[in-house]
Amino acid sequence: MSAIILFMAVIAVIAGWWLSQQRLTAKPWLEEGSIGDYPGTGAMTMPAAKIGLGVFLAVAGSLFALFISAYSMRMGMVDWRAMPVPKLLWFNTGVLILSSVALQWALLAARRDDIDGVMVGLLGGGASALTFLAGQLLAWQQLSVAGYFVASNPANSFFYLLTAAHGLHLMGGLAALGRTTAKVWRGVAIAEARLSVELCAIYWHFLLLVWLIVLGVLTGWTDSFIDICRQLLN
């Protein structure tokens, strides 16, 4: 459970920092009057969708941290046989990085009111994300041809499970990206599309980060790190 504890610690630090800004030591029974009289602790001014995405990322992060926790506990059992990582995953990783870069490009274009740049970025990001998903499916196929089925070893099971969970999240993101692209296509004012583009970009970067961590776990790079965490907790 070290991964999830670590994740919760990060969340606790963020929540603690935020709470420390909220004047939790105020004595509300003495503070009659309008809000202007007291240092600002009103509602957040960020758009609701952006806060919502932030909260959702915490939920999704918790999900992946738990998957990784389960992975690190299960890999200690005797029947674990590490699985070769298909070369294709490196290509897929490159494509996903490209996808993230494209959306960042779209975001920067949206900030300087360049509608064509936004469109290029969105389409590029979407196309490369689809390529990534196709590449993942291909990797699954290669593995099953080579005899690495989902149930033949827990390492395989986790490989399919983690890649599937990540892929499903990306597909959800693609739905949002599709809506954003359609919005820009219809020619809404760029100011209206800016937020949607920004949210897509943030989500993409998050999924890229998750993928890099998942890849690190699957390839065994993070084994020594997991060991350290386990020893710390034990």
């Binding site: 009659e32 809000i35 009289d37 602790t41 009103g42 959702f56 939920v59 029947d79």
Partner: protein, 591 residues
């Protein structure tokens, strides 16, 4: 409060009303069925939760009939008994209590109490309910599939949950896991709404420290649920893989009917860790909203400000954080390292500190208050006593050496029913009596309400107090029929029969309550907008029941905290949160 110089107070204009932000229903369907209005969604959540909760209530009767009079009812066999236990537990904890507190009360109260027009993502909020309904339907469908619902116990421990000896191995367990996954997806949609609405949609002047404790409780519980439910999600998905795709996440090597199964090497303990990483926060996901609501009920009905508001807020936050590092106290008998057990026993006992602070503060709020023994107040008082009772036995079970012999006995059943069954349900009932006038514009009948309270409260004690004793005798839980065991005296069987009779009576008292709900809807005394003379914003709406958008043209502006009761020198014994300071009130500008 009176220390603030009135001259320093400047008038703040109400927030601009952005009409376009609010979704307006155009047809009967979008107004009452596929509604995006949080108040309608709240009622939908509550009715669905109550309906499935009634199923769970009937299941508990059937279990009690079997325990009280073993061998008498031929239609309850051992498998069915296990199925009843499982479904009763799962429904009550997740589909009733969680859904009711967060989906029901959360949806209704958050926007009204923070002074918002609606939740921030109304469409997602609507989806949340329909996914929840789907989850409930999938769960209910297991009663009708071949093999029936799963009988694995509400904890669904592998390997037995998916082995052929357990009832519902065919479809029951698959549908149960699918239903939980759906529930979590649906809840996440709703939960995002509750959190972001509190963060972003509070009206002017509503600082965090002016929030009613109800909102604090629901807000914190929602954050916990958003972070803890993924653990159940992961556990369910992995078990579904084990069951359907024959992976071995949790399944060790097993021989069944003399045959080696295809599983091997999996860790049942891994499931327990995941399950309880969700399962323990779940206790507080149910308890924190109850804490918040009960604080508001006590303050309102004792006409006194809540004692130690800041401490109450800090305690809620502290409990929320601590509840994530106590999960393994549910696993003392799983063969864990003694030091591990020591760590979790310590964190478990530490959590008693903020909890005790809350109890002291409730009692000190009552101290020298103007206590009105209204029905909501009775339920609130009943909650405090019951929660303390259940909490004290929690101290027993939190210690490894005491827990080990008591584990898997009726003592545990009695403990968790007191602390997270009866106690939160008393709050739910009290809250319904309290807020029903806001929902309908009519009061619930007082005589029926008092009858309901006394039968429920006393009955719950008659049911669960003797159960502690049975547990100390060593009476095991989850047994269909204990038979003649040397360590069980015959008086224990008599006691079981007694508990059953009381359980039936308490169950029927709930029917009186349901009758009251329906009868008062048509014949109840009109309540007016603020029958309890309460300060919080939901009682200050221009219409009762609140109309679409909650407020009139302007959002309310908040000038004070939620507990200005019996303020010396004030005209009335309560000052609504949106009442401007005295300078203007003197000119007659009441809300």
């Amino acid at each position: 409060m009176v220390d603030v110089p009135y001259d320093a107070v400047t008038d703040v204009p109400p927030a601009e009303v952005a009409e376009v932000d609010l979704y307006h229903p155009r047809s009967w369907w979008t107004k009452y069925v596929f509604s995006q209005d949080a108040k309608v969604i709240a009622i939908q959540y509550s009715l669905t939760a109550t309906a499935i909760g009634l199923v769970a209530l009937v299941l508990s009767w059937l279990m009690r009939l079997q325990l009280g009079f073993p061998g008498t009812f031929s239609f309850i066999d051992a498998s069915q008994y296990l199925q009843f236990i499982t479904m009763h537990g799962m429904i009550m904890v997740i589909y009733l209590l969680t859904a009711l507190f967060l989906g029901g009360f959360g949806n209704y109260l958050i926007p009204l109490m923070v002074g918002a027009r609606d939740m921030v993502f109304p469409y997602v909020n609507m989806l949340s309910y329909w996914v929840y309904l789907l989850a409930v339907l999938v769960l209910a469908s297991t009663f009708f599939v071949p093999g029936g619902p799963t009988g694995a116990g509400w904890t669904l421990y592998p390997p037995q949950a998916i082995l052929s000896g357990t009832p519902g191995q065919d479809w029951g367990i698959i549908l149960m896991l699918s239903s939980l996954i759906l529930f979590i997806i649906g809840f996440t949609m709703g939960g995002l709404n509750y959190v972001v609405t509190v963060l972003q949609a509070r009206t002017r002047g509503m600082t965090l420290m002016r929030l009613p404790l109800t909102v604090w409780g629901i807000f914190t519980a929602t954050i916990m649920a958003l972070l803890a439910f993924p653990a159940l999600f992961v556990a369910c998905v992995m078990m579904l893989f084990d069951r359907v795709l024959a992976t071995s996440f949790f399944m060790p090597a097993l021989v069944q009917m003399g045959e080696q199964m295809k599983y091997g090497g999996g860790s049942p303990l891994l499931f327990q860790h995941l399950f309880w990483f969700f399962g323990h926060p779940e206790v507080y996901i149910v308890a924190l909203p109850a804490f918040g609501i009960v604080s508001d009920l006590i303050s309102t009905h004792a006409r006194k400000n809540i004692f130690g508001y800041r401490m109450m807020v800090w305690a809620i936050v502290a409990i929320g954080a601590l509840s994530f590092i106590v999960w393994a106290h549910h696993m003392y008998v799983s063969g864990m390292h003694p030091q591990f057990g020591f760590f979790f026993a310590t964190t478990t006992l530490i959590i008693a500190i903020p909890t005790a602070i809350k109890v002291y503060n409730w009692v000190l709020t009552l101290w020298r208050g103007d206590i009105h023994l209204t029905v909501p107040m009775l339920f609130a008082l009943g909650f405090i006593i019951t929660f303390v009772n259940g909490g004290l036995t929690g101290l027993f079970l939190g210690n490894v050496v005491v827990d080990v012999p008591l584990s898997d006995t009726m003592f545990v059943v009695a403990h968790f029913h007191m602390v997270m069954g009866v106690a939160p349900i008393l709050v739910v009932l009290g809250a319904i009596y309290h807020w029903y006038p806001k929902l309908t514009g009519r009061m619930l009948d007082d005589v029926l309400g008092k009858f309901h309270f006394w039968v429920t409260f006393l009955g719950a004690y008659l049911i669960f107090f003797p159960m502690h004793y049975l547990g100390l005798l060593g009476f095991p839980r989850r047994y269909h029929d204990i038979g003649e065991a040397a360590f069980i005296p015959s008086s224990a069987h008599t006691l079981n029969a007694f508990i059953t009779v009381v359980a039936l009576i308490v169950g029927f008292a709930q029917m009186v309550f349901l009758f009251n709900l329906v009868w008062s809807l048509f014949k109840g005394k009109p309540s007016g907008g603020n029958p309890w003379r309460a300060t919080t914003l939901e009682w200050q709406t221009p219409e009762t029941p609140p109309g679409h958008g909650n407020w009139g043209k302007e959002l309310p502006v908040v000038y004070r905290w939620a507990y200005d009761y019996s303020v010396p020198g004030a005209e009335q014994d309560f000052i609504p949160q949106n009442q401007p300071p005295a300078r203007r009130a003197a000119q007659g500008a009441l809300p």
